[in-house]
Assembly symmetry: D2
Homo-oligomer: 361 residues x 4
């Protein structure tokens, strides 16, 4: 269970950046779900590196469904999505020089020197492509159940997007945007800022804010399988995520209970909270309000500035100046990975409550 | 697997606040580990409500070991710790008035009206007592392996503790303190602030900062079982935790890659990072540096101010003025729960790498 | 996950024969299920030692529900059933003399000498009492869903019960009988044979044949979680079970495919098989026919004849003549344990397909 | 977790008989294990259909390692073995006529008519090829640890192989034989019998007897994860297995406790049993003696005789005369599948006790 997650809808991820292929197996989908290739492609497209603000490694990301789909519908057995590796330039990496803030050194130690170091091996961000393909299927299923998920870039350095307003509309906007900032001006400023950072051979990170709309009440368990526990386990699986918070999150420290308790109200028989500081979750369980999640994506570790490092061959201090193709920022690409992880976590939890057949009905 | 967590060292939690008993089962400890009752009591004592800054419900918290220990040593079979409920005043709660920011409403909906509402039932913070008892055993085992864990209260509203300095000594200080603030003056200010908040019938929250020292390199897995995923799943199991971050966490948003990358250095054959912005974790795996985790505990939901709510019987808007025994702050008590959850998560991960027998050798 | 089993309905077993208590936690039952104490007592009664054909250790087996039930209904949280140990005569056992075909020696080696050897410790057949209590709840839930389970003693040495005839009626008969043999004469012969064996200070085993009626089509998964895999994992958890087979089982060796293939037929729109040699399972999945399972319970290992053994203290060959209270046969008591394990396995599998809420609707 | 099994060494199986590929992912192998391609091929070869006693579908079974191996050694990440489907003749099957004793009907019902029916889809015996490839790796690792596994065909109809004699030598013989019968004459008789059965358009089954040698004491857990539970769960995952027994198994019914208890003896400090009726397992845990397992493989369901069936399109009784390529017996091919499943189950259990790094040291 090292590379698998999920009890009812189980994911198994495999592959190395410069091996023959990477992929994911989704197990637990009931038979009879229509698979929308274009929707998967659309999500993969949003994850892809593009323009000046991204790496110049352009993978085709052509996914193949190897099993689990028959005549366009899931057939009830494990669904295997494979993406072949085509654009691999292994000579770009110097395995003896461990890259700062990358997994090179821990991989070397954990795997006793047998790690596939080419292109970051299994630790490559490229592994998020199959996650996005699987996530697209999950997003599609949930959408048909009325559960909407969207993520905008809330902040990059001092640049802040506007807050959510009309949630349903904003989620739709997020999902249609290439660069998911709701405020048009901030969007352009952020793109400019990333381009400028790229020219400085540097990188930046960002805070992503996600919203889940219309999740039924009662999803999540007290304690060990709280909705926060489940969602955070999936979100911290994304490389570069270093923080996850719900509702006010760390801002709770500034307030008193009386300021941030979410009082209850009833209107035409519908119970809701007057505020949503808890981000739609009480006691680890969804309360019917929008689920609000923030995720920090740290600045890309690959920068073109010369950095101090250690040479594993000579075991001496050394310097590293990265060559190759790298992103000055990945948070805008990570956005669909976040959406995917949320959808996959929710699908598992919903299946627990409603059974796996629920997905197809 | 709703109330169980852990693959190699599995925890199962049960009990309701006003039922006969609450408890936890720890499964996976090898035989031959000495159980230190005093150490468990010491940790339970730190979790206990005390003085003006805590609830006036004083439970004896006398734990009994029902199974798994023979002649003072683990005997290899499931270790069951039970705490009987003695001080239960069920009339304090009005189940028809759902408490803001509590689990009353979600429990009512999730359990179709069959929930044990007395004292919060299974959602009571009291359930963290057996977690602390189990955590004490884990902390003790890890300590014998040289792995140290400590947590200080980093912030409560504007009051901030000093940063970590001498980690080993600071951790020891944390573990000896009743109210775990390293700076003596800030400690008293915080206590005063909580007392003042209590008089205002209000509550406050706080940020806890934990440090894990001497964790071996290589703990955690890429992606789904990253060290961050595992730790956050345990930490978000604690009621009132609404955010978890590692290293710089959300502060990463303010920096460029070149400012926060942790460059490598070697000294006398020992490889380490020159900074520790990643909090000791690269690619989801421990890198040998101290693991730094921040956790936000939101202000206690139970306040004595009158709040808006809904009456589930009349299905009308209503008001609630809580009676009974409540804490104006719980973060200082939650501190040992955080330590416990970290220790239990790490024990599980270490057992995966080294086998369960490792714990006793 | 050493002492836990089940994905949706999870069992966790704990306790030692001569410790303060033994028990089980059932996690995953939805709220709102009526708990029938008398039905549980009835099943525990059937498991109890009685008359000349059983041990003279008479435990009260008074179970207490510690959590998870409120006002007579499940409240959705872990259901903990505890049975206190009252009749413990620890001096009956000589831990230095390892009992043949018992777990004394493996426990000694596995637990490095720290095992609780008193009364067999965790290996005691007594641990099946909480399993039966949990099983009673599962049997009750399934029965309300129309799924019936019954087990008769098919064979003890040369004595063979008649085959199943009217399945629904036979299952009812089994469940009402103290000693579950359908043929009245064979029943008395078997009881006489056990009594005679007891006088000879010896023991016998038996084959139990179980039938599951009205299990919906489609339960079980291909390969790793086949219905046979799941059921056998639960059944082999019962001490003394050394074989499990489905349908014809090992007798398949005597036949050709044309003799034992189960041809399909349709009658008034209902598809069924003309024979049931596969015991209601094709490709690991229930096919709508009765599920037929055979389980062998070996002769009780505790006999009063003097046996060769090794003295762990002197590390020399020695002899052992058991004293104390032992059963000359346990298969008639194991019958309700088998029913319980089957019901618990099925509940888990049904919850996977239909969701946990299915149980209460 | 429908198509995955194993806690420490996790298998995930995917693929349909006539889809692009089938495969397996093994997760949990430590880095640094040499992968012996020839050994894997050797095992796949033994599983292959050959001669007159097997189907005429001849797959190349050319496996590709897609991930997890770098420069000939495991690199610590999920090891993905893929076998492309090349010889698919989809027109051989008439999906509207459900084949007796096959999974056609249950698949149709479970998957709501969306099943991939071509060549049995996911239920095809072909899926055992990747299991054998994974099993070969497990067998190789265990062998280097001194743990030997071998299986002979104990019985086919009235033809019985001789009993085990020199276990170490017999296991070696089994592993070198194409048709694993120890007695040369019985071997030829059995092959003749299968050929004769084939001419009669019929099929036969057989009993396989496996032996595990030098498994350390202490593997397996009491109750739910007993060695019998674990092994049987894996063995019943093999299509056509309808019974599993340990030691005397169902034959225990014929004996008294005094006849079949395994008395202990000590010789030069080594404790062993004087007999091995329990097949090396006491209380669910290995006791150091050879583990003896019997598995029944039922007669192949695919026979060329005309059979009664139902037409799913017309929903009327009909007849089926199979065309295509089928085996008159599969137990001789299933033998390496049994070896593989045993090895994979043991690897998981050993990793639990010793940690995953144990495999490479």
């Amino acid at each position: 269970m090292k590379s698998s997650i999920g009890k009812n809808v189980t994911l198994t991820l495999y592959g190395e950046s410069h091996g023959p292929a990477i992929g994911i197996i989704i197990d637990g989908l009931p038979a009879g779900i229509a698979i929308d290739h274009d929707f998967i492609l659309n999500k993969l497209e949003k994850r892809k590196a593009k323009g000046k603000i991204s790496t110049q490694r352009h993978e085709a990301d052509e996914f193949k469904i190897i099993s689990g789909v028959f005549n366009g519908f899931t057939c009830g057995t494990p669904l295997h999505i494979m993406i072949e590796n085509t654009s691999t330039r292994s000579h770009d990496y110097h395995p003896e020089l461990i890259r700062p803030s990358h997994a090179d050194y821990v991989a070397h130690m954990k795997y006793h020197g047998f790690e596939d170091y080419r292109g970051g091996g299994h630790f490559s961000g490229r592994l998020t492509a199959p996650i996005v393909a699987a996530g697209a299927i999950a997003l599609d299923i949930l959408k048909k159940k009325g559960i909407l998920i969207g993520t905008h870039i809330a902040q990059c350095q001092d640049l802040k997007d506007r807050n959510w307003q009309d949630l349903e509309k904003d989620i739709e906007t997020c999902n249609s945007l290439e660069f998911s900032v709701l405020d048009e001006k901030v969007r352009q400023d952020m793109i400019d800022h990333i381009e400028k950072t790229a020219l400085e051979k540097d990188s930046v990170g960002g805070i992503l804010e996600s919203c889940i709309l219309h999740l039924p009440i009662g999803i999540g368990e007290p304690f060990f399988h709280s909705l926060e526990s489940q969602l955070s386990a999936y979100l911290f699986s994304i490389p570069a995520v270093k923080g996850v918070e719900f509702g006010l999150g760390f801002d709770f420290v500034h307030y008193k209970g009386s300021e941030v308790n979410d009082a209850w109200q009833i209107d035409h028989g519908i119970i809701s909270t007057m505020s949503n500081h808890n981000g739609g979750i009480n006691g680890g369980i969804s309360n019917g309000m929008p689920i609000i999640i923030k995720t920090i994506i740290k600045p890309t570790a690959s920068i073109f500035k010369t950095q101090h490092t250690v040479n594993l061959k000579t075991m001496e201090n050394d310097e590293l100046t990265l060559q190759g193709r790298h992103d000055p920022a990945i948070f805008h690409r990570a956005r669909v990975v976040v959406d995917s992880m949320i959808a996959l976590a929710l699908l598992d939890l919903c299946a627990e409550k409603y059974g796996t057949d629920w997905m197809r009905l």
